[in-house]
Amino acid sequence: MIEEEEVTLLLSDLLELYGYDFTQYARASIKRRVNRLLTLDKFPSFAELRYRVRNDADYLKRFVEELTVNVTEMFRDPSFYRALRKEVLPALTAKPFIRVWHAGCSTGEEVFSMAILLKEANLLHKSLLYATDLNPEVLEVARKGIFALAPMRQYSENYVLSGGTADFSSYYTAQYDYVKFNEELTRKMVFSTHNLVSDRSFNEFDLILCRNVLIYFDKTLQDRVLTLFDESLGMLSFLGLGSKETLRFSSIRQKYKQVGSEKIWRKIE
């Protein structure tokens, strides 16, 4: 196990040498990620890990990728998607154009879920889904729309639980162990790197989804990001977070009203 001061050293290396700012990430979690890499990559000591991070560009890439968590799934927490169908999309129907931002989209499973929801509400033709992540590698996966076949059975169950009534497999073509989602969906997606720690707002949106990203940040950074979202949401627009995330500790909370019991808020002032 490495010490608190060693984590601090490593994080300042990453910031000073490469401009990656993890200093405001939730410390207990980032420390666990560093310890995990120390064991996984069999470093005999912290000093060796630090030397490698400072001097080996290929390893640095792996290190930064492994430091961040890229766990996601389609229709994650189906009741959340059910609420999007029932409460959010009907409120957006009258709009001439719908902009959705998936902030920290990872490999894009939730972006495809959203596109399917929009299509089934007959809104996809006038929608645009902006999907951003810090990590260009995961965006490359998302952009291709090709996913492993194995979890599709689970995703199909999630889809049904979210209120989906079509045949889920009609949205993709399976080949060997992979599936490719229909281009009708990908055509409405724009992928781009965006760093929530340092980048600014880039548009105004009707719905922002940022699920299980804020849990990795400390309270100060959470508040910065939520303010960034607030600046990017028009009046009566929606914000959706992960199942254990909350606006409770944020300075923007007064301007938002929770929609039902799911982690969805609407901007009311």
């Binding site: 608190e4 939730a26 410390r27 207990a28 666990r32 766990v71 500790f249």
Partner: protein, 191 residues
């Protein structure tokens, strides 16, 4: 063994368990008297859909405030906190919880090891770890970490556990301060 050490000196008590541990908790919780001098954290392996039902079940057995943890919740003495399904539960130095949805550890999320290790890091000797019934070796590494940091460790007596494997692994690989049945645990918590 540290027979003279008492749980009530701890700032936090963390209980971990898997199969067969819910029954133990249903017996332990009513024995906790208000005001509880420590924060009680419960980490159980469970199905991802059963969140509210488990909290409701436990709430019937205690008058102490009981919460399903949300990200950045503040840790208060006298309160009981339940690790949510499908997240690892970590403790921050500023006395708040943080959640993490990274890879499963010991096939489990939440993993008992993750919470035990993280709590040991923050509370050191002011921590008590209790490991209950289960069919998985999760918790053993965490108990070790608690012990190394000077905390108190308690393991359920395997012959009284519905599934003995989890406490057995802990006894084989660490030297717990106490190995107790449920009645013994209740007595110790009351001291």
């Amino acid at each position: 063994m540290a027979e003279n050490r008492v749980v009530s000196n701890s700032a936090m008590v963390v209980i971990g368990g898997s199969t067969g541990s819910i029954d133990v908790l249903l017996n332990l919780l009513p024995a906790l008297r208000s005001p509880l001098p420590f924060a009680l954290v419960i980490v159980l392996h469970r199905k991802s859909t059963s969140d509210t039902s488990l909290a409701d079940l436990f709430a019937l057995k205690t008058s102490l405030p009981l919460h399903d943890v949300e990200d950045k919740d503040v840790i208060l003495p006298g309160h009981i906190y339940l690790a949510p399904a499908d997240y690892h539960l970590l403790i921050e130095h500023d006395g708040t919880f943080s959640l993490d949805d990274s890879e499963k550890i010991n096939y489990s999320r939440p993993s008992i090891d993750v919470t035990f290790e993280s709590a040991a890091d923050v509370y050191g000797p002011a921590l008590t770890g209790i490991l209950l019934s289960g069919a998985n070796a999760d918790g053993t590494a965490g108990l070790k970490a608690i012990q190394q940091a000077g905390g108190l460790t308690i393991v359920q007596r395997p012959d009284t556990a519905q599934v003995a494997y989890m406490p057995q692994q802990a006894i084989l690989n660490t030297r717990p301060d106490y190995v107790l049945d449920v009645v013994g645990m209740v007595r110790l918590l009351e001291r």
